[in-house]
Every structure is written in C-alpha cells, then in structure tokens.
Amino acid sequence: MQQTDPRAGTPGELLTIEGLKTHFYTQEGTVRAVDGVSFEIRDGQTLGVVGESGCGKSITAMSVLRLIERPGRIVDGKVMLRGKDMLGVSESEMRDIRGNQISMIFQEPMTSLNPVFTCGDQIAETVELHAAVGRKEAWARAVEMLTQVGIPEAARRAKQYPHQLSGGMRQRVMIAMALSTNPELLIADEPTTALDVTIQAQILELMKALRERNKMAIMLITHDLGVVAEMADEVVVMYAGKVMERAEVNTIYERPHNPYTKGLLSSIPRMGEKRERLEVIKGVVPNPLNLPTGCLFKRRCPYAMPVCDTPPPVRSVGPGHISRCWLTPAGEPPLIGEDALPEMADESAQELTVMPR
C-alpha cells in the first residue's frame, strides 16, 4: 500500500496496520473479509472505523489481537505495535499484549461478562493476569476501577453478578475491566450499539474522560456516524473489506470525497431539516463470495461510470485525506484520455498484484 502518511515511524506511532488481509476459507469459497486495510493510530488518538454491517470492521479489530479463528486466517500484511510486527510474535507474547497493551470492549455487554463470577472477581482476575499483585490488591484495584467508571457504591457493586446489573452498568464494568491494566490502545467494538440513547451518551462521555485521564488511544468501531463525530479525531470508512476513505473527522463531515461516504452521511437524519423520507444508499452490500470486478461500490454508486469496472486508485485528495475512487480530487469525473489513464491504472495495478493464492 502507499505511504501517504509522512509521520509513519515517528515516536508517536502506536499501531500501524499495513495491507492487512484476513480471509475466510469457507466451503462456498474464499471470503475476503479484510482485504488490504492500512491505517495507523497515534498515541492518544481516537480513530473511528465506520462502515455497514459485514464490511470487515470487527474482523480488522480481531485481526489486530490475532483472535481470528478457523476458517479465517490472516494471509498478508503487517500489524505493528510500536514498530514490532505482532503477526510474528509467539502466542504467549500475544497473550501478554492482549489486555495489557491493547484491550478490547465488545458490543454486547449482556453476554460479554462471565455470568458465574461477580463483576469484581472478573476485573480482579484481569488485573492479576497482567500484574504481579495479590488477590487483595487486585480486588482493591477492581473497586477503584469501578469507581472510576462511575459506578456508585463500587465496593458493593463489585460483589454483584452481571445479571444483577443493567446493560449500561455492565458496559461500564466491561470498560473497567478493559482499562484495569492501563492499556495504550483500547479497541471498542460498537460499545454503545446495544444500549439505549441516554445511556449511550453517558458511556461515550465516560470513554472520553477516561481517554484524557489515561492518555490512551482508542480504535472505535461503529456504524454510527453520530458517535464518530462525537469521539473520533480521524475516520476510516470501510466497505466490503477495503478502506474507502480516510481523513480527519472534520474533513469527512465537511468535504467527503468518496461517494460511499457521501451516501452514509446523507442517510443520517439532521436536526431542523424537513424531509419526507430519509435518503438511503440503494442496494445492498455485495455478496462477499461474489464481489464485482473493479470498484466494489459501483453497483450502488450514483456516480458510477464505465471506468469503475477497473479497480479505482487509492490516492490523496487533500492533506491527510485519501480516497479510493476514480473521481478526481476535486470530485469531478476523471478525464478518460490517453494521458490520464495509464498513470492511474498503474496505481490500481499495484492493488491488484498483491492478491495471493
């Protein structure tokens, strides 16, 4: 993939993903769930990863933690944590990284906690796992964490079982557990999707506050553009396993380049706007077993042109802003002349060559 980011390799660099490919080898064929994804997260930065269901957001996160199970496999690419390729380390080193340097919270607070242990037990267990502390200290830390995530009467709550808490409380417990080891990176996989709106806002506020306090980076996976606007510094838009657009959060909302991003944005209701119907992106996500040739979005794209049968280039369309589309940086249809095409086709050819098996 191309190196558009001049900061790569700088000390602030926490996680770098380069050309990550995670494929699932099913009976019906190969599903390229993640197909050449690249991005990086700097210390303390919040990166929003946005896309529809099944676009590979969660698989990307699981790949970072190397939690992909059969029939899936990471087939190519690099996942560098502080310059060290995590795809090369041993499983026991990986276990040390999980929960310690990188923590994760999940979408379903209802089922992500072990039902047979008290909340305090579970947090204490995670603490014990990664720090050389005794049971008592670990428990104290658990209570401290519960207080930090805003659970009233933490000492008492710690003795309760997950089923005795509400969804919002459970998500707080999950967050407390994930943060109990002071990770440098928190991967939050749709942390608020299962919660109702008022609780959502509280959880987001909490995550913001904890981010400031612990100086950690967050990789926020969501399909909710409102959540991204609220939280993220930078946004990666994914579609069918590929990054469609990447930019600073303001750029994404004010000057989106990719038609897919535009489609996503226009399907959010806006306050004070009178409309009969909400706009939608027509069509459905393509069948991962039978992806179209060329641009994966072309069948649903209002700008689709003949050239879209050729895989579009990934290119810089502004400062820190890249997009995978044939549209020119200004958003115009490309001049399909003899002079314009070969250079672009070259770029896209690079994309095509790295497809093993």
Partner: protein
C-alpha cells in the same frame, strides 16, 4: 442481614458527575452467592426432602457402624430370626445377625463405593470432555470415538471381568472398575457444553483480555458447565450404587462377612418365601439412595447456577 438500602441519591458520596442521578440505581439488596444458592435450593421441595432423607441416612450409616464395631458380622444362633427389640429395631436374621446394624454397615459400604466411583467418573469425564470440546477438530473426533468404543462395551461384563481378575470382594477394585467404565456420559455432557461455551461472548472477551487456554477452561468454561456436571454426578452416584449391588448380588462384589446392600439382598433372596421382609430392607434403602441422589442433583443444578433468577 446485610440488607443495605440505597439511600436517597443525595446521600451518596463521590459519584462522578457523569452518572446521571436517575440512572440504574436499583434497590436489590446484595445477597452473597451462598445466600442465593440457599434461596433457590429451598424452592425445590423434592430436593429439600431428598437432602433431609439423605442426611439422615448418611448420619446413620456413619454413626451406627462406628458405635457398634463389628456387631454387624456377629452371629448367634440363640437369636436366630429373633423379633425386633430396642437393640435390633429390624430384628435378627437366620444367623442371628442384628439386621439394622448390618443394614447400616451395608449402606455405608454402598455409599462409599458410590461416591468414590463418582469422583473417578467426574474426573475422567471432565478431563476428556473439556479437552474434546475446547480443542475441537481431530482431537475432539479421536476422543469422542474413544467414548463410543467404551459406550459400545457391555459394561457389566467388563466390570465383572476386572473384578474377577484383580480381586473379588476388594472395595478398591470395585470402585475403580465402576469408575473407569462409567465416565462416558459425563464426558459427553461436558463436551457439548464446552462446544457451546467456546464461542460465548465472555470467553471471547477473556481471550481478548489476554487469558490463556488453561485459565479460560478452568475459570471461565468449567464453572459454566457445572450444571450438567452436577446432574451427571448425581446420576453417577445412583448408578454406581446400583452397579455395586448388582455385582455383590452376583457374588463378585463385596462378599460376607463384609456387608453391602447387594450381598444383603443375595442373602435375603434365599429366605424370600419364608421372610420376604428381609428383601424389603436393603431394597428400600437402595431405592431411597437412588431417588434422593437424583432429586438432590436436580435441586443443586438449579441452585448453583447464578443465572437462574429468583422469581418474584
């Protein structure tokens, strides 16, 4: 009781500002795990009755033989078929042996065999089942075919062979023989539970937070698989006691002068026409143990599972 009522929201201290006051302050008093277990168990009427009956039986089976020494094998023709007295509530048999004392000694033997065999059953079953269910793939296949092989064997004959070969009448041999042939059900139950748990969200979460295989199995999966294990154990006790009785009845288990429910039954059958009540005593105790074990297992399964909510 540690019933702590949550006071009015103003009464709380040090609550971070981002918790809205209205949020989720539920007033459920906190009960400890064992308080909850007791509460759930008590709701199972049959299980409570079974527990009481079993407690009485176990107490008698422990105390009576201890207090009477070798009285259970002392014969005395003067007392032959003597009537019930205060020292011998069930009377005497043909050889003048105190029937009540012998019955209790036999119950003790049977319970010891049942419990010890179940330890082996649960041990092997859990080991095989959890490895198969957690690992999956070829290992799972291999282990489960092994289970199929054991299942296809005629168990009683295998036990008879083992006992005949390694020592008739030896309690330890009987225990091991029953144990190593009876673990298949437990293994299958644990495996099935593990297959389901392997993809549970909380197991994924534990993995994402850096837990290793052993920790995931021991801390996260086994406790959740407890319910079927307890049922398997309860059924195992009942099964083992019956198997021991069958063995002794056939003369391969515990032989006189040692007492077991099985050999008491054998002794009684020869008198069946003249004194049928002698079959009734060990038979009743046997049925009682089997029934109590199953009911208790049922009750414990529900009580120990923290997911079970107490209704109302």
């Amino acid at each position: 009781m540690d019933r702590v009522e949550t006071p009015d929201t103003k009464g709380r201290t040090a609550v971070p500002a981002n918790v809205s006051e209205s949020e989720e302050i539920d007033l459920t008093p906190i009960r400890t795990y064992w308080q909850l277990v007791r509460q759930r168990f008590v709701r199972h009427r049959l299980a409570v009755i079974a527990l009481v009956a079993l407690a009485i039986l176990v107490t008698l089976a422990v105390v009576v033989p201890l207090a009477t020494g070798d009285l259970y094998q002392q014969t005395g023709f003067a007392r032959s078929r003597g009537p019930a007295t205060l020292e011998a509530p069930l009377g005497y048999d043909r050889l003048g042996i105190n029937l009540f004392v012998r019955l209790m000694k036999g119950t003790q033997t049977s319970l010891i065999i049942g419990l010890a065999a179940v330890l082996i059953i649960v041990g092997i079953g859990t080991l095989v089942g959890s490895i198969a269910g957690y690992a999956g793939g070829w290992l799972d296949n291999l282990l489960m075919r092994m289970v199929d092989v054991v299942l296809s064997l005629p168990v009683l004959f295998i036990i008879l062979m083992i006992v005949a070969f390694f020592g008739v009448g030896d309690v330890r041999v009987v225990i091991i023989a029953i144990g190593i042939t009876g673990w298949t059900l437990a293994a299958r139950l644990i495996r099935a539970e593990f297959l389901a748990l392997r993809n549970a969200d909380f197991v994924q979460a534990a993995r994402a937070l850096g837990a290793g295989h052993r920790r995931i199995i021991m801390r996260h999966m086994l406790p959740s698989a407890m319910a079927p294990l307890i049922v398997a154990a309860a059924l195992g006790v009942a099964d083992s006691v019956v198997t021991e009785a069958a063995l002794s009845f056939l003369g391969f288990g515990i032989s006189p002068p040692e007492a077991s429910l099985g050999n008491m039954l054998t002794g009684a059958t020869t008198l069946f026409l003249r004194d049928p009540i002698q079959v009734f005593y060990p038979g009743t105790v046997l049925i009682l143990i089997v029934l109590c074990a199953s009911f208790l297992g049922d009750g414990l399964r529900d009580a120990l599972d923290p997911r079970q909510k107490i209704a109302d």
